[in-house]
Amino acid sequence: MLVYTLKRLFLAFLVALTVSAITFSLTYLASDPATAMAGETASDADIEYIRTLYGFDRPITVQYLEWAGRAIQGDFGESFYFKLPVSTLLFERLPVSMILGVCAISFAIILSIPLGVLAAIRPNSFLDRMALGISVVGQAMPSFWLALLLILIFGVNLNLLPITGSETWKHFILPTIVLGYYATPAIMRLTRTGMLEVLGSDYIRTARAKGLSLPVILFKHALRNAVIPVVSLAAVQFGFMLGGSIVIESIFALHGAGYLAWESIGRNDLPVVQAVVLVFSLFYIVLTFLSDLLNAWLDPRIRVG
């Protein structure tokens, strides 16, 4: 297990290195940073002045190392638009994204794993069909549409829940449902498929031959094996929820980091975009690492590899 963990850690480090380099190169891929900073009315001389002032004229590797060195210390530079340290902005916006992401993935898991298990125990039963229905609807219905529907029902008609802002926990209920429901179909289908396959396996027959009770067979012997692919999927979904919730964040005016990135792209506010992309990528890498560890714990055969 130790060797496996170290191997994964090394791999994660390499990926992080690559990702940071790509993120950095965004500065140059998007447009010439000096031109962007100087604004539309700037003269050539102004642009050249900014170029030297910010060091854009130095060799790219030097710039990268300097940028990476500062990023490690939490210094992502200053926002072109807000004229504030990027870290201050992140510090403000990240918690909102995190809370929403954690709530949404928890909601998705709590809903989809039991449903997937139940559907697999009785394939083609009423419950299975209901679960299928839920997942088909979830897949077909665009998130923003569900969001508007919920706002209309719970926010406007019933007046039960707040619909904009992020001040109290109540503000997170609707966005959690919308974002969580989006991830539910995939997790549920994968749980169902995995359980169906495992329930037909020889070792489940052995467990039954030992006279074990149904809960022990289902949860000890079957679910642990069935859930292995689900772990990786949930990790990806979680990462996606953190960064890809821009639509949801803007509908509910939850000003999280995803929303910040989206705004900043429009404003050509590169340091902010870079910082958000980097933070989310690193988060993704950590998630993948953790899900690999969890899988290794679930399946001892992975540990040797």
Binding site: A207, R208, A209, G211, R224
Partner: protein, 334 residues
């Protein structure tokens, strides 16, 4: 002495796309304490389904029926799932054909071995652990205590099958069913495992049903033999009766196919009788073996009688005993 297991008129039907597959078509047998019954027959004749139906482990869609299916006097078919679960792994245990996949990859050998004991004997962890170590040693696994913390993927097929045997013995069952326990293993390991099973049967004095393809195995370990063909028993008797006086042409064919050292090529298997088994979907009129039988005649198209010569001894054929014995001579000299 009353039988540990007594079965008569057992049928198993599986609905498939083309109709009902009658996999087991009315079979009778019994096993006593300390006795080994071997069930032989080629692939697909219904051996596994027979054993699964005893354990109550048939696939959900399979339909089971029997005139009688008694385990130490209890009617198995009338038991509820919960009552059956209390017997399974406790008073009857099964060893499967596939040692590589029959253990859960996620749990240690120790965990899986102790499970039935903890469940049925309500014992402490310590007792269960001691019992597991004792049995691992009994099935010939060295360094038993340290094996408990190993995972299935760390063991070879032969070792895994030994673990399965130890697991079956955990609760000291009255009946052990071993469904081709050695088919998936190397030839040298096969002999060891069979030897072990026979030895343990004596030591634990339980009833053993051993399912196999291999008549050589039967000759070494069986007390009684049931020869199955296309879902029916075509001949039954003691091991001496079956080998000294095989009456059914199928049994005779099987015995002629037993490899003789020096004469038979290595690797040739039982079942090298030419021809194929009829489909098990729908009814079979007459003798199901007639398309492969060298002695088939008109009566075989419509009749399929079972002759009981004395309790536990009988055969299924339109011919009488002298005719069958004459056939045996003819086949043996061919």
């Amino acid at each position: 002495m009353s039988a540990v297991l007594e079965i008569s008129g057992l049928t198993v039907d599986i609905p498939v796309a083309a109709g009902d597959l009658h996999a087991v078509r009315g079979i009778d047998f019994s096993v006593d304490k300390g006795e080994t019954l071997c069930i032989v027959g080629e692939s697909g004749c219904g051996k596994s389904l027979t054993s699964l139906s005893i354990m109550g482990l048939l696939p959900k869609r399979a339909k089971i029926n029997a005139d009688k299916m008694q385990f130490t006097g209890t009617d198995l078919l009338s038991l509820k799932e919960r009552e059956l679960a209390a017997i399974r792994g406790n008073r009857m245990a099964m060893i499967f054909q596939e040692p590589m996949t029959s253990l859960n990859p996620a749990y240690t050998i120790g965990n899986q071995l102790m499970e039935p004991y903890l469940r049925h004997k309500k014992s402490s962890d310590k007792e269960a652990r001691e019992r597991a170590i004792y049995l691992l040693e009994r099935v010939g696994i060295t360094a038993a205590a340290s094996r408990l913390s190993q995972y299935p993927h760390q063991l070879s097929g032969g070792l895994r099958q030994r673990v399965m045997i130890a697991m079956a013995l955990m609760c000291d069952p009255e009946l052990i069913i071993a469904d081709e326990p050695t088919t998936a293993l190397d030839v040298t390991i096969q002999a060891q495992i069979l030897h072990l099973l026979a030895e343990l049967r004596n030591e634990f004095n339980s009833a053993l049903i051993l399912i196999t393809h291999d008549l050589g195995v039967v000759a070494r370990v069986a007390d009684k033999v049931a020869v199955m063909y296309a879902g029916k028993i075509v001949e039954a008797g003691t091991v001496e009766e079956i080998f000294n006086q095989p009456l059914h042409p199928y049994t005779q064919g099987l015995i002629n196919c037993i490899p003789v050292p020096g004469k038979t090529a290595r690797g040739s298997r039982l079942g090298s009788i030419p021809g194929i088994v009829p489909t098990l979907i729908g009814d079979i009129k007459g003798c199901s073996f007639r398309n492969r039988c060298g002695f088939a005649h008109d009566a075989c198209d419509t009749n399929d009688p079972f002759h009981t010569l004395n309790p536990g001894r009988g055969y299924r054929c339109t011919l009488d005993v002298p005719a069958c014995e004459a056939n045996a001579k003819e086949l043996a000299s061919a």
